[in-house]
């Protein structure tokens, strides 16, 4: 695979060996954007996002960082649904559990070291929740459709549960869960110990989230294009055949589900730290459906689609505001699932490749063509 992609077109001839070797780790049939042009565009986009706060000021930047926080949630569903074929309506369960965990721990230990610990415990909590739920479902032989329904039901259970935690008996240490009113005094995110620490608020938080997002995106690209990623896609395409080839399908699904839980948990922790607030609203059905919308519109089988659609839709929804926002989001979802089941990004990619291959330059073999050989 590495030789095919790096030696593909005349445009790539100038790449130095080391750079091509590095690039080949992030490229393969499971992601779109395997050309030099894509990476140039990617770099430009990241730089533009880095310059964004200087153009619009810290208030807008802080608003925008929420959309970037949601992108982790979108990515988590893309990995679970798009790459391992498990449609989960409950990514917000892990999001919410992680957010609440972060809240409880950080309120009790409000020092930089305590908050760093809370960050880790929160993400771990999301992953653990996903592991437990996933173990129960995947090793219990629950079929994929019912996995969707169980995750939906889990969301509702947590919503009912968290909404009734208003009383004093629901206080953990100094942190009151607060029922419908939620937890309003979660501290800002901070890393470090004692004096050698850094606290993240508006601008710095924006750069932290952006950095984490780029790293996560690249990390996931490397994962889905690795051998393990190929097994994940094989599980999505045909579980029985994959099992026949000797792979442990259940273990792969559980591992991916847990990874999805960790990513959703990361999103939840960042969300809690962003607004200094956590409430049962994150377990509501409307919020639970948002990741499904983002990922369906962007294209669930591409990581890039999940990120761009999440940020795009949230930006749109937030700018529209008011009553019409959900109508428009619903129409978008309906149009895309009916008319363009693959999502926007794969469609744009396909159109672009077709347009270019009409020209004189020969194109590198596309993913689908390679697979069908």
């Amino acid at each position: 695979m590495a030789t095919e992609t790096s030696g593909a077109g005349p445009a790539d001839a100038g790449d130095s060996g080391a750079l091509a070797g590095l690039r080949s780790r992030f490229e393969g049939p499971n992601t779109v954007g395997n050309s030099r042009g894509f990476w140039v565009g990617f770099l430009v986009a990241v730089l533009a996002l880095a310059a964004y706060p200087f153009v619009v000021g810290s208030y807008q930047a802080s608003r925008f960082s929420l959309f970037l926080v949601y992108a982790f949630l979108g990515l988590s569903l893309s990995v679970v649904w798009g790459y391992a074929g498990v449609l989960s309506f409950g990514q917000v369960v892990f999001f919410g559990v992680a957010g609440y965990t972060f809240g409880v721990v950080s309120v009790n230990f409000a020092t930089p070291a305590g908050i760093t610990g809370a960050f880790l415990v929160g993400v771990f909590g999301g992953a653990l929740m996903a592991f437990v739920l996933g173990y129960f479902m995947i090793y219990g032989g629950v079929r994929n459709v019912y996995v969707t329904i169980i995750t939906l039901v889990s969301t509702l259970v947590l919503h009912t549960f968290m909404a009734q935690t208003a009383g004093d008996e629901w206080t953990i240490g100094e942190a009151a869960l607060g029922g419908f009113n939620g937890m309003p005094t979660i501290p800002n995110l901070a890393f470090g110990v004692g004096g050698a620490s850094i606290t993240f608020s508006s601008m710095t938080f924006y750069y932290l989230v952006l950095g984490l997002l780029v790293a996560t995106y690249l990390g996931l690209r490397a994962l889905v294009n690795s051998d393990y990623g190929r097994v994940m896609v094989a599980v999505r395409e045909d579980e029985d055949r994959t099992r026949m080839f000797g792979y442990d399908v259940e273990r792969v699904k559980l591992a991916v589900f847990t990874l999805g839980g960790a990513l959703a948990g990361l999103s939840g922790v960042l969300y809690a730290a962003w607004g200094n607030y956590m409430s049962p609203g994150v377990f509501e059905l409307t919020f639970a459906s948002l990741p499904v919308i983002w990922v369906s519109v962007g294209g669930r089988k591409t990581l890039l689609g999940a990120v761009t659609a999440t940020v795009g839709i949230e930006f749109l929804r937030n700018s529209l505001g008011g009553e019409l926002a959900f109508v428009i989001v619903g129409v978008l979802l309906l149009v895309f699932i009916l008319g363009l089941p693959g999502g926007i990004v794969p469609w744009v990619h396909r159109t672009y490749v077709e347009m270019r291959s009409d020209g004189a330059t020969p194109e590198p073999p596309e993913a689908s063509a390679e697979v069908s050989d």
Binding site: V142, L152, T160, L324, L332, L334, L338
Partner: protein, 312 residues
Amino acid sequence: MVNGLNLLFQFLDSFAFIVLAAAGLAIIFGIMGVINLAHGEFIMVGAYATTLANIRAGLPLPAAMLVGVLVTAGFGLVVERVVISGTVPNALSQRFLGRKVIEPLYDRLADSMVATWGLSLIMVQGVRITLGNSLDQIGTPLGNIAYSGFSYSTYRVMLAAVALGVLALTYYVFTRTEYGMRARATIQDEDTARALGVDTERTYMTTFAIGSGLAGLTGALYAPTITMVPGLGSSFLVEAFVAVVVGGPSVVLGTTLAGGLLGAINATVSNVLGTFFGRIALLVTAIVMIRFLPDGITGFVETLRERRQEGA
């Protein structure tokens, strides 16, 4: 003794609620392989149509309920043609673009869930924009049954009888009529059914309309007892899903048994520990049932029967 009566009424109440909430969903899921996440919103359409017909147009309650059922069935028909089967958009695009743009959603479970979810968002918000955040409510008819210090709404207890009537009627339609035969043939083997002259397109269309009509009936029946808000459908959705999952593939028997079992659990737990735990018990039952009986109660019964036949 009094506690026993209380429990009985509570059981009848939740039995009716679960059966009525699930009936339409079970039919559409069982026959078409479409999971309709907008089911709650279909119930909302029925409830709103009934309330509007009763309060704004001044129709008597039974006539208003009939209006609710018919409006929802008609609405379901439109949704089936436009979204689920994509016939209308495809006819348009065939004309203007020369190709079809939509694949029907039949038996595409995940896609049908996502698409109907989009539909439900549009419906809830659309109703909120056009009709406001709430609507005047019809008063609950028939008064209360009073017994030694307690009372229970007669109307809600009566709904248990209606629920049984709905089940009986569904059973009759699917086993004794020509349509029912065609519908069951379509479930069993669509290609063979079509080869034998069954218009499966039409069967799907009718089925979706019947399922929507039943959702409308649920909405119409509960319109006098619940607050009229655009999001009222979501309070039915959970019970409906849980009942369909627990019931399994056989529509009538599954819904009856699931309604009985879940109604009993819900009533007992609510009675002892309060409504909140009643709901939690319902959800936990669903999760445990899926784990141990992935095909629901009727799937389990079916397996037992097959095993006994093999043994004999």
